[in-house]
Symmetry: C2
Subunit: 488 residues, 2 copies
């Protein structure tokens, strides 16, 4: 079908850009950056032109007209392609260019403002970016508030109301769990034996563990970068990245398990449908569920370390100074931090709750940009009982807004909720749970392949979760997991 041919061509361009982007973040020498930006800009323009072309439009219309609805996957593909085409073409070329410039300037200004801890220097950029986000929301249309349609970009079919409900259920319990977790950590603090934990040993251990989770190194790699990510360069070419801390091997390892979770999802998507919705990840909240499941539910479990702690001690002899029990205490330590990316499982979602509330109010106009630092401080105090010393430790810490990523943060917590719900359902299966007890993950991975990966983007995320677990997304499994880990 013509529209599928065009979509596959689009995927060739996109994945070529991904390859250049991967190199840019891993190996590219510094002086190569300007030319790389020009190459990426050329590819991005080609991809955009193709996906908004008259050819594309006609081919999509023809396919829609010929579709009799008998093939559910075909119908899902056309539905999603229509959604994406309408989204792309409802924005004027002028608006796209204006957004591109604003985010480029915004990122630059944000980096300087964060360094100087000077929110006022970033504020005008945030105003502009908010105005553009609102303009996009107006063009796309929304049900009850602008946040809805922005969120829908990342999390198809979700809404402010749904998130509000989930986060409302979460908040009171979470505050209590976090409090208990922090108290417990203080009562029995554990520190990792002193380094160095040699990087070559970390690389070996990480690779052995990623392989044991099922990551296919014939169709993927792990490299080094500053800001770890997972990227897909082709249906059988998935690249993970991590960074190394010679004083703490768990930093790169949990990074690898997190990215391997993303990578296992990408490796499990139907390769023959690469470039079509049915061969693509459905949403950020589902993607993050896969990374969090392997990182937290598998990687921080006692059963996992029952197998891997002795292996880690072989790689890092000093680790033998700790008992397995104390090592697990170290992994399960909790602490109140001003910085989201340093937060542990017990406190992480509180950071997201705060951002969701502020973003929604900024977009609706309830919260003025100039009032953001104050609102951040008040809200942080309410959740954590402390106030950030400056904006660098507060509303300037994340890059997302400066890139126009409004409506994005909430998907992190959706990922945590989905991870817990999927893991609880899967581990109720006796074969899977017997595997987990022996740190053997083939049964768990098969379940995820069958219930999540193979479906690509054919179902809305919430539908996918309900089909896999028998219930719509809820906070129950996540709270139960955190309670068991920190309060039992």
């Amino acid at each position: 079908m013509k529209i599928f041919e065009l979509a596959r061509e689009h995927a060739l361009i996109d994945s070529a850009a991904a390859t250049l982007g991967w190199d840019q973040e891993t190996f590219m020498p510094s002086a190569g950056n300007d030319h790389r930006a020009a190459q990426l800009s050329w590819l991005s323009a080609k991809a955009h032109t193709l996906a908004t072309s008259d050819d594309w439009k006609r081919a999509l219309e023809e396919a829609e007209a010929a579709n009799d609805g008998s093939d559910a996957t075909l119908s899902a593909n056309l539905r999603e392609m229509r959604r994406q085409f309408d989204r792309a073409t409802k924005l004027s070329v002028e608006l796209v260019a204006r957004e591109s410039e604003a985010t480029s300037l915004g990122k630059h200004a944000w980096a300087a403002a964060r360094k100087a801890s000077d929110f006022a220097a970033f504020a005008p950029h945030l105003e502009t970016l908010l105005a553009i986000a609102r303009e996009k929301a107006e063009r796309w249309g929304y049900e009850s508030e602008p946040y809805d349609v922005l969120l829908d970009t990342y999390e198809r079919g979700s809404s402010s109301a749904r998130i509000s409900k989930l986060f409302g259920d979460l908040k009171p319990v979470l505050v209590g769990i976090a409090e208990q977790a922090v108290t417990r950590t203080k009562s029995h603090p554990v520190v990792l034996p002193a380094g160095p934990y040699p990087i070559d040993q970390q690389i070996k251990l990480n690779a052995a563990i990623a392989e044991s989770l099922g990551f296919d190194f014939e169709a993927g790699r792990i490299d080094t970068t500053t800001h770890p990510f997972c990227t897909t360069l082709g249906p059988r070419d998935v690249r993970l990245t991590t960074r190394y801390d010679e004083d703490d091997f768990t930093s790169s390892l949990f990074g690898v398990m997190h990215e391997a979770g993303h990578g296992l999802y990408e490796q499990g998507l139907p390769g023959s449908d690469f470039g079509l919705p049915s061969g693509s990840a459905v949403s950020l909240g589902i993607h993050e569920s896969q990374s969090r499941l392997w990182e937290n539910h598998v990687g921080r479990s006692a059963a996992f370390w029952g197998k891997w702690f002795p292996v880690a001690c072989d790689h890092f002899p000093q680790l033998g100074q700790l008992s397995l029990e104390d090592f697990l205490r170290f992994l399960h330590r909790a602490e109140k931090s001003f910085i989201r990316v340093e937060a542990d499982e017990a406190t992480y979602d509180l950071h997201i709750l705060l951002r969701f509330d502020l973003e929604r109010r900024m977009l609706s106009g309830d919260l003025k940009v100039k009032d953001v630092p104050g609102a951040w401080g008040d809200h942080f105090k309410e959740l954590f009982g402390m106030t950030p010393p400056d904006d660098r430790h507060g509303c300037l810490q994340d890059i997302h807004w400066s890139m126009g990523g409004l409506g994005y943060f909430s998907t992190y917590t959706l990922g945590n909720l989905n991870a817990a719900q999927l893991f609880a359902t899967a581990s109720a299966d006796p074969v899977i749970s017997a595997g987990l007890a022996k740190a053997e993950y083939a049964p768990l991975l098969s379940w995820l392949r069958e219930n999540i990966h193979r479906h690509g983007a054919t179902y809305d995320p919430a539908v996918l979760i309900e089909k896999a677990t028998g219930a719509p997304p809820s906070t129950e499994a996540h709270l139960s997991h955190l309670f068991g880990r920190y309060c039992a």
Copy 2:
């Protein structure tokens, strides 16, 4: 100017493809290959379409019409772009597709035939590839024989007659030098102390040496591959590759010095003209002169090792079992080999003389494909006094013909001649020779930047050599170098 804008766009596409090609040969996981081939084919089609488009034709015509000849670089750029455009558009789409298919099948058949040492299995492919080469030569037109115009693809302005003259001068002397070099080696054989020479130490030493030659690591890297190469991903992004042998550190090191020679040329081209002839390497024979100059004239010299031998001994303590004198003997050993890529300085060019003669006769029709193995054996016997035991050690050893690379081999020896001629001229300068004596290469590199690199492709290779050295390309300096090394 419009035509320059188009040429720069073409260079963006080409260099994006180069990035994908670099990854394919260095890091790409094996299962990624099919998708990578599809990405590269898309990019290649885009580049070809652009460079043969009506837009391109019109823009070139407009620039030619507006050119008053007062700017020599502009005129040179337009002249070369016209040459390339005419070359590209004189071939029909059908012929290009036929060639692409023939080389794809040819490479595959060649690899199998070489493995089985079965020339008959490759012969029909060689027939086809020869017919296509002749067809191209007919379409492009040539002065006296088809070889001329094929050679001109790699070595602008050269001809069979020129090469014949040079190679004719070379042959009798070279045969004598090779004989003496082999005899001398036998009279005082030296072997490298047993390994291992750890790869991490090789990497460190190679990088230190590449840097000392002037290779800019802010604008380049060295990675690992099976078949070493140098590739340019942007005006300030040049990637070298090498391979490691734990039993012999000189294998990766001379590989790096060779590729660094190519890389220094690429880093020295005018970056602001990237994508234009004035910002591009002019020919294979000039490119190879740069790699050979650094590899052989610098890297195998006594002065170089006066500085670097003690450093190498620090990296590889067992090396201290050799005296510097014996180590140099090891580097200057000569041996008759059936295989070109294993040949040393003393015997290398003999391999090229043979190939030039055979290729020329094949193209003119004098030599039938079925007679190639016999002709190879006879010619090899004449030059080396021995006969290859089978075709795998004879006419099936090189990949070039199977890729349609007819007219390519002679540029290797042109590179050797040019390297010697440039090095002799440069080292007559007292500042440069004082640098060489201390293994300091900034003056030599400046001279190459000034006399070769900065000119890009604005002069024909022979003109460039004459401007730099005061004399047209000749065999004198090369023979004198070999005589000094092997017979003095």
